[in-house]
C-alpha cells in the first residue's frame, strides 16, 4: 500500500473511532460545554472536524502518492 494511502486511511479511521466506538464513554450530560450537553458537544465537534481530517488526508495523499499512478485522487 502506498504511503499516502496508508496515512489517509489512518486519518479516515478517526471519525469512526470518535463517533461510533467512543460513544459509550461520552454518553453523559456533564460537563456542559458551550451550553451543550457533553454528548452533543462531542458529536458536533467531531462532525465539524471531519472535513478538516479529510482535507489533511487529501493533502497527504497528494504529497506522498505519485500522481501519475492515477490512483491517488
Amino acid at each position: 500500500m502506498k504511503k499516502g494511502t496508508k496515512y489517509a486511511l489512518m486519518l479516515g479511521a478517526i471519525p469512526f473511532i470518535t463517533l461510533v466506538f467512543a460513544l459509550p464513554l461520552v454518553n453523559r450530560i456533564k460537563p456542559v460545554v458551550f451550553g451543550l450537553p457533553f454528548i452533543l458537544f462531542w458529536i458536533l465537534s467531531w462532525v465539524i472536524l471531519t472535513p478538516l481530517i479529510l482535507f489533511i488526508a487529501y493533502t497527504l495523499e497528494r504529497k506522498f502518492n505519485n500522481p501519475e499512478d492515477g490512483d491517488e485522487d
Binding site: F16, L23, P24, N27, R28, I29, G35, V47, T50, F55
Partner: protein, 469 residues
C-alpha cells in the same frame, strides 16, 4: 386563495418549470439522461448529493425524533459524516471504473465486476423494491406537509397529484440535470427555513440556546443521553445503527449512481471533504425538536413537532413558505429515486435479462416510460395504502445495505467471486427479512440490518476463502 397557498403552489410550479428548462439544450441520450453526461462539477454534484440526502423526513423526522425519542436522534447527525468519510475512499475508484467501462448504474457495476448478468438482475430488483417505498414516503410526506402548512385547506391528494405530474414531466424531459437544477431551489428554501426556525424558536421562547438546553437538562436530563425516551434504543443500538446506515448510505442505487455523474474523480473526492458541513443544519433541526418538547409537550405524532411549533410561533404566510420548502424537498429526491429505479428496470432487468441486443435509444425510451409507471405505482400506494409499507421501507434500507460487501470487496479484493457475493447478499437479505417481519428488530440490542450485514460479510469471505482459484 390565501397567501400561504399562493406561495406553496407558486413554488411547486416554478420548480417544475425550472426542471423542464434545465434540459432545453441537451440532446437526450442515455448518458445525458442518467448521469448528466458525466459533466457535473463540484457545485452540481454537491447540490445533487444534498438533494438526495435532505428529504422531507430530515425536516420532520429529525425534529420528530429529537422531540419524541431524544438522544437516539443524534445518530442522524453522525452517520452522514461517516458516510462521506467512506465515500472519500470508495467513490473515486468506483468513478474511474465507471468512466472506463461506461457504467451508469449500480447493477452495471456488479455485472462488470463479477461478470454475471444474473447478479446484476438480482441487484437491480432489490434496488427497485427498496426504492418504491422510499418514493412513496416522499409523496406522502409532501402531502402531509402541504396539508398541515395550509391549515387543512388543501387536501394532501391535490398537492401530491400536482407535484407528481410536474416531477414526472421534468424527469422525463431533463433527466438527472433537471433534478440537480431544482435542487438549487430546494436547498435555498430548506436552509432558509431551517435557519429561521432553528435560530428563531429557541430565542423566542427562551432567549438563548443555552437557556433552552439548561431548562431541558433540568427538567428531563435523561432525554439528552442514550437511550433517551426510547428504551430499546440504547447506546449499542445507536452504534450498530450508525455503522449500518453509514455503510449503506452510498449503496442506495440512486446515491451510488450519482457518483458516476461527476466530471472527475477529483470532484468526488473534494466533494467528500466538504459534505460533512452539510450536516450542521441538522443540529438546528434538533433544537427545534427540543424546544417543542418544552413548549408543546404531549403531541401524539412526533413528526408534527416542527410544523406545530412553527404554526404556534409564526404568521400564517410563513407556514406557506415552510409548506413550499417541504414540498420541493420531497420533489427532488422523488425525481432522483424514480429516475434511477426506471433505469434499473429498463437497463438492468429488461435489457440484461430479456433483450441483450437492445440499443441505448430503446433503453432510454423504455426508461422514460418506466418513470411514469413507477411514479404511478408509488402514487397509488401513497393515496390508497399509506400505512402498509413501513416494514417494507425498513426492509428496503436494510436491504440495500447488503450490497456493501459486494461493492467494497469488488473494488479492493481481487479474489472475491460471484458466487461468494451472491450467497452473502442472499444470506443477508433473508436474515434481515426474517428478523424484521417476525418483529425482532432490534435483535439483542442491535439493529437487524447490521446483523444481516455481519452474516453477509462472513458468508462472502468464507466462500471466497474456501473456493480455490
Amino acid at each position: 386563495m390565501s397567501t400561504a397557498l399562493l406561495i406553496i403552489f407558486g413554488v411547486i410550479i416554478f420548480s417544475g418549470l425550472v426542471g423542464i428548462y434545465a434540459g432545453r439544450n441537451l440532446k437526450m441520450n442515455l448518458e445525458n439522461w442518467t448521469v448528466g453526461g458525466r459533466k457535473f462539477g463540484i457545485i452540481l454534484i454537491w447540490l445533487l448529493m444534498a438533494g438526495e440526502i435532505y428529504t422531507t423526513f430530515t425536516f420532520l423526522g429529525a425534529s420528530g425524533w429529537a422531540y419524541s425519542k431524544g438522544a437516539p436522534s443524534f445518530y442522524i447527525l453522525i452517520y452522514g459524516a461517516l458516510a462521506y468519510t467512506l465515500s472519500f475512499f470508495i467513490l473515486p475508484k468506483l468513478w474511474r471504473i465507471g468512466k472506463k467501462y461506461g457504467l451508469h448504474t449500480q447493477p452495471d457495476y456488479f455485472i462488470h465486476r463479477y461478470n454475471s448478468r444474473l447478479l446484476g438482475v438480482l441487484v437491480a430488483l432489490i434496488g427497485v423494491f427498496s426504492i418504491v417505498p422510499y418514493l412513496q414516503l416522499q409523496l406522502q410526506g409532501l402531502g402531509f406537509i402541504v396539508k398541515v402548512a395550509s391549515n387543512g385547506t388543501v387536501r394532501s391528494e391535490l398537492a401530491i397529484l400536482i407535484s407528481f405530474v410536474l416531477t414526472c414531466v421534468f424527469v422525463y424531459t431533463s433527466g438527472l440535470r433537471g433534478a440537480a437544477w431544482v435542487s438549487v431551489i430546494k436547498d435555498t428554501l430548506m436552509i432558509a427555513a431551517v435557519c429561521v426556525v432553528g435560530f428563531g424558536v429557541p430565542l423566542i421562547y427562551f432567549g438563548s440556546y443555552s437557556k433552552m438546553l439548561e431548562v431541558l437538562m433540568e427538567k428531563m436530563p435523561e432525554h439528552l443521553v442514550f437511550p433517551g425516551a426510547a428504551p430499546h434504543m440504547g447506546v449499542w443500538w445507536v452504534m450498530s445503527t450508525i455503522l449500518l446506515t453509514s455503510l449503506g448510505f452510498y449503496m442506495w442505487p440512486h446515491v451510488f449512481g450519482s457518483a458516476f455523474s461527476a466530471k472527475s474523480d477529483k470532484v468526488i473526492k473534494r466533494n467528500a471533504i466538504i459534505m460533512p458541513f452539510y450536516q450542521i443544519p441538522i443540529l438546528l433541526i434538533f433544537m427545534v425538536g427540543f424546544t417543542a418538547v418544552l413548549v408543546i409537550p404531549g403531541l401524539e405524532n412526533g413528526d408534527l413537532a416542527f410544523l406545530s411549533l412553527v404554526n404556534k410561533t409564526y404568521p400564517s404566510w410563513f407556514m406557506g413558505f415552510i409548506g413550499a420548502a417541504g414540498a420541493v424537498t420531497a420533489m427532488v429526491p422523488a425525481a432522483i429515486l424514480v429516475l434511477f429505479a426506471s433505469t434499473l428496470l429498463s437497463k438492468n432487468v429488461y435489457k440484461a435479462g430479456f433483450d441483450p441486443g437492445a440499443d441505448d435509444e430503446k433503453v432510454m425510451r423504455l426508461s422514460r416510460f418506466m418513470v411514469i409507471v413507477i411514479m404511478t405505482v408509488s402514487l397509488i400506494f401513497a393515496l390508497f395504502m399509506p400505512n402498509e409499507l413501513v416494514n417494507l421501507l425498513i426492509l428496503g434500507y436494510d436491504g440495500v445495505c447488503q450490497f456493501f460487501p459486494g461493492v467494497v470487496f469488488g473494488l479492493f479484493w481481487k479474489r472475491a467471486s460471484k458466487s461468494a457475493v451472491m450467497a452473502g447478499l442472499l444470506a443477508g437479505i433473508v436474515m434481515v427479512g426474517v428478523l424484521i417481519l417476525s418483529g425482532n428488530d432490534p435483535f439483542l440490542g442491535l439493529n437487524a440490518g447490521f446483523i444481516g450485514l455481519i452474516l453477509n460479510v462472513v458468508v462472502t469471505v468464507a466462500i471466497t476463502l474456501v473456493k480455490k482459484k
